[in-house]
């Protein structure tokens, strides 16, 4: 069984599950974890079970996870009393960090202690890494006294995305960006990374990176299916 871990509010994730054949994938949300029967053991992790859509699932039956949930926010846990939600969100985040790291199957992406989507640096540290790699970056200023960060992008700039998966550039490969994208993914230690660039005429500049799999990217879906050794529905 492939698990698609997503926010309760992620409507696209619900339809994404249908792209896998023969009910081979299931959506899992914080509601499944918190509200339905759960037994997670350690060190005896292989005897753990979760409940999804009324079905008990042994962790040994999980053959892959596509994680679309970087963090558990209190809003996910609407079924708990409001005063409990913040504490419970930290608890479920702690549980998922462990659960995703303990699974023996492929997890896209494996979690780190900082994020369920892996060790992708903060936006500021991503920019610093790009500068260290001598890759041009979009002019940006972060200021703790301002409510939002400031990016100085021109109106003629085009935003384009490059997707990296399992050591390959799977969409929008360009000679100017591929090497940097590989370096950024390797630095973060993730199997999947989407990198956003700004382009004006021939000038390409780094904008930001995200480790949340882009489920609308058909090339990525195909690559993930190959990786998890399952057929994809065209």
């Amino acid at each position: 069984m492939i698990l698609i871990l997503a926010s309760i509010y992620n409507e696209r994730a619900k339809s994404y599950v249908k792209q896998f054949p023969d009910s081979s994938a299931s959506l899992i949300t914080c509601s499944d974890i918190a509200e339905h029967k759960l037994k997670i053991f350690y060190p005896d992790f292989n005897n753990s079970e979760i409940t999804i859509a009324g079905r008990t699932l042994s962790v040994r039956e999980i053959t892959g996870v596509i994680n679309l949930l970087p963090v558990v926010l209190p809003e996910e846990l609407f079924f708990f009393p409001e005063k409990e939600r913040e504490y419970q969100s930290a608890e479920i985040q702690a549980l998922l960090t462990f659960f995703l790291s303990a699974l023996s199957c492929q997890v896209i992406n494996k979690p780190s202690a900082l994020s369920l989507n892996g060790n992708v640096n903060s936006h500021v540290n991503q920019i610093e890494f790009a500068i260290q790699c001598k890759f041009p970056v979009v002019k940006s200023l972060f200021d703790s006294s301002k409510v939002s960060s400031h990016f100085k992008a021109g109106i003629d700039e085009e935003i384009f995305e490059v997707d990296y998966f399992n050591a390959e550039i799977i969409s929008n490969s360009t000679a100017e960006t591929d090497d940097f994208v590989r370096k950024l993914a390797s630095h973060a230690g993730v199997i999947y990374l989407k990198v956003f660039f700004s382009k004006m005429k021939k000038n390409i500049r780094f904008l930001r990176a995200s480790a949340i799999p882009d489920i609308e990217n058909t090339a990525l879906h195909k690559a993930i299916c190959n990786y998890l050794k399952i057929k994809s529905i065209p």
């Binding site: 708990f80 930290a90 479920i92 549980l95 960090t97 703790s144």
Partner: protein
């Protein structure tokens, strides 16, 4: 220059600060409780961070080491809930934390400790997966919301411990099955561990030094109960395991909670990556604080 970020009412910070003064270190104390007066900027154009404290520039390029013990700024008074002022304060304080953490991640200074390596403590079970390969026993653990599963798990042990999974502080306690049953429908997934009976030993690893103490108390969570602390010597192989564990976690300092049973089985319960060690530093000289201050000054 050494940057110390925290509050002086924290005995751990105060004891390190006092030792830094004795060692004639050049210190900049950034008062966390005055976070409203702190400002941090990062510019991609200059590729530099700027830190301002009460309108004054703090020269980050001169920082050779930093001791970071931030607090939950939401505890500070007077921040009236739901007021516009409180919302602005919260956003700015969050952004300040975000930027100082980003600086700490990329800084070449000696950091006690980098935020990304401290994060292992946000999930006790995640941390257990690093603890066990270092040669310590770990308690049998269960996360469940199912009464029957919890009852069956508990039946295999002499007692059941209930605690938080995350780093949010909770009082660790033994829970009886009858108490648990009465609350069964009111809890989300709870974290339960077999009760280990033995001696509580706290080890602080500071750089390459190991400080150990024995805590005697009649309660499970001795932090909230009468207790007696005395320094002890632990076996050299356990010291080596503590050093290895600290290194595997990527930490420069660590507070390691151990328990040794009557048959000399050594359990590691958890590792605190930013320990409030003043609670355990019973020596008149405050030897743990001194070791931290020396670690910071030897940068």
């Amino acid at each position: 220059m050494i940057l110390a970020w925290g509050i002086m009412s924290d005995d751990t910070m105060l004891s390190v600060y006092n030792w830094l003064k004795i060692l004639h270190a050049d210190i900049y104390f950034l008062n966390h409780s005055a976070i409203e007066g702190s400002r941090m900027k990062f510019s991609s154009t200059t590729h530099s961070y700027q830190l301002y404290d009460c309108g004054q520039t703090v020269p980050l390029e001169n920082i050779t080491a930093a001791y970071l013990r931030p607090y939950d700024f939401r505890q500070y008074e007077p921040i009236a809930e739901n007021s516009n002022q409180a919302r602005k304060f919260t956003i700015r304080a969050n952004q300040f934390h975000f930027l100082i953490n980003a600086w700490a991640e990329s800084s070449k200074a000696k950091l006690i400790n980098k935020p990304s390596v401290e994060a292992s403590n946000h999930s006790k079970l995640f941390q257990s997966r690093i603890i066990q390969p270092c040669g310590f026993a770990v308690p049998e653990s269960l996360v469940s919301n199912d009464w029957e599963t919890i009852r069956l798990f508990a039946s295999g042990f002499k007692g059941l411990i209930y605690k938080s999974m995350s780093s949010i502080r909770s009082i660790v306690k033994e829970i009886s099955l009858s108490e648990l049953h009465s609350r069964a429908d009111k809890i989300g997934p709870g974290f339960f561990q077999e009760k280990i009976s033995g001696k509580n030993i706290r080890v602080h690893v500071i750089g390459g030094q190991v400080f150990s103490c024995l805590i005697e108390s009649n309660e499970i969570d001795y932090r909230y109960a009468p207790h007696m602390i005395s320094t002890i010597e632990i076996p050299s192989d356990i010291q080596s395991k503590c050093l290895l564990l600290t290194q595997k976690l990527g930490l420069l300092i660590a507070g390691i909670d151990l328990m040794v049973t009557a048959d000399l089985k050594w359990y590691c319960l958890e590792v605190n990556p930013n320990p409030g060690f003043s609670f355990y530093d019973v020596s008149d000289e405050k030897n743990i604080a001194r070791a931290v201050a020396e670690l910071l000054t030897n940068s």
